[in-house]
Symmetry: C2
Subunit: 273 residues, 2 copies
């Protein structure tokens, strides 16, 4: 594997330029020679699905993933059923946009009972796998950092995501490795190896102390403590050679000109990923 | 095991009343019939060690633990040696104060190399075990929440702490279970069972969304999402019947009258621990 990551794999996860609408993000990527883009559904909604599809097709960009499905746990059966329906819509959207991966951010529990919330996640995945398969979409379970266990995801380690994914074939369900979420894990490299053939996405950013807003806590690669290149090489050794999404929620970046963010992002990608 | 925790096990971890000096905390516990206190070294320094010892002795309070030893990783061998010396001083202090446990907050790494930092933690513990044994002090490795991996502790799971502790006898090295640090862990109950006979302390507080300051993020038991009673019962099933420290860093509590904090703490302890 090469020391530097391939520029051909670089993807802008759209949340990194939250200040841009989808059209601006697409145009920005084309201008900056960034070949991939990871789309968010709230951004698609703003301009509409038909317009999104046309923009992507005309641009020549490839869609690395659609964010997000998941959010399975809920207090009532009716809400959980609605979550399933929403996941099915996301699967159809992902397929029409030409990506083969739907990222699953699995969701928090509605109360203190985290075991039951985790069971609901497993049941939710079980329900949507056949539908995803029909649409040739793979489901990527993304473990989130444990600091999000109460408000974003009860799936918090790669071990847990691997165990959930292994009930299915690698063509059906895999995992997303995001360095921000997993870098602290003493079991990280063993779990990446275990995910061999099943890594469906790789996301990069950095962890910088102090954290004052858990959601907008991420930083540009190189500004923090994560051994990003080491993790990238491990993921490649596990067979992953797909797009690498730069996914950074950060107020300072969101207040900059989007083109400047992309310029720094390309530079840091070459140096630190 | 009883449904409610024993009042005889309740301990004020001194950081919960950061607004009080050590004398005020001791007097507050006596007044509120709280039989245990967990001491912090920066509070001891304020009034001096001799005065602390006398205060504790005269009060009849029992010291549940001394916080803290640890902080092993450092960039230079000289600094790491200084950390060992400081740990030895803490061991002597713990013994003189009549507790048999020194809590180890193991420390962050000085750079991105988290594996080496973890190795330094293991080497540091190895160095102080004989000295601790001579002074009849057990070392309690406290895994911290992974959100502190960059600035407080490279030991972040009970699995990791157990693995480190198991190199020694339960009379030498054990683990501290703090619900705030471990509640999110999918492997929690298995690891508590694994720690049987080796749990040296149990700390309680609660996790409330949102987190805006990672250090002062804790809340009073019952104000968050942690299944505290379930974890307490698991720890008891693993043979722990010692003091239960209430350890809460929280600006709102620090701005209240200390006596009021203790009143609420006793009430919440009975209801939620």
């Amino acid at each position: 594997m090469s020391e530097q990551p391939l520029l051909a794999n670089l993807s802008l996860n759209q949340i990194t330029t939250e200040q841009w609408n989808l059209r601006e993000a697409v145009e920005g990527c084309v201008k900056a020679d960034i070949p991939w883009i990871g789309l968010w559904r709230h951004k698609i909604k703003e301009i509409g699905f038909a317009e999104t599809k046309k923009l992507i097709k005309d641009s020549g960009l490839q869609v690395s993933s659609l964010c997000r499905g998941g959010m399975f746990p809920a207090a009532t059966a009716k809400e959980r059923e609605e979550a399933i329906e929403d996941n099915k819509r996301a699967i159809v959207e992902a397929a029409e946009l030409g990506t083969n991966v739907l990222v699953l951010v699995c969701g928090p529990g509605p109360d203190k009972d985290i075991d039951t919330a985790r069971k609901w996640v497993e049941e939710g995945i079980e329900e949507i796998v056949p539908f995803a398969e029909q649409h040739e979409i793979k489901l990527g379970i993304e473990p989130l950092h444990p600091m999000y266990a109460a408000d974003r995801s009860v799936v918090v380690t790669l071990d847990q995501a691997n165990t959930m994914a292994e009930k299915y074939s690698p063509e059906q369900v895999g995992v997303i490795v995001d360095v921000f979420h997993v870098w602290w894990d003493p079991d990280l490299y063993r779990q990446i190896e275990r995910a061999k053939g099943r890594v469906l996405g790789f996301h990069v950013s950095d962890w910088q102390v102090p954290i004052t807003d858990t959601f907008k806590a991420r930083h540009m690669m190189g500004d923090g403590v994560i051994e990003i290149r080491r993790i990238r090489k491990a993921v490649e050794a596990a067979g992953y050679d797909g797009p690498i999404e730069v996914e950074i929620m950060n107020d300072a970046l969101w207040n900059q000109a989007g083109d400047d963010v992309l310029a720094v992002m390309k530079d840091r990608y070459a140096k630190h990923v």
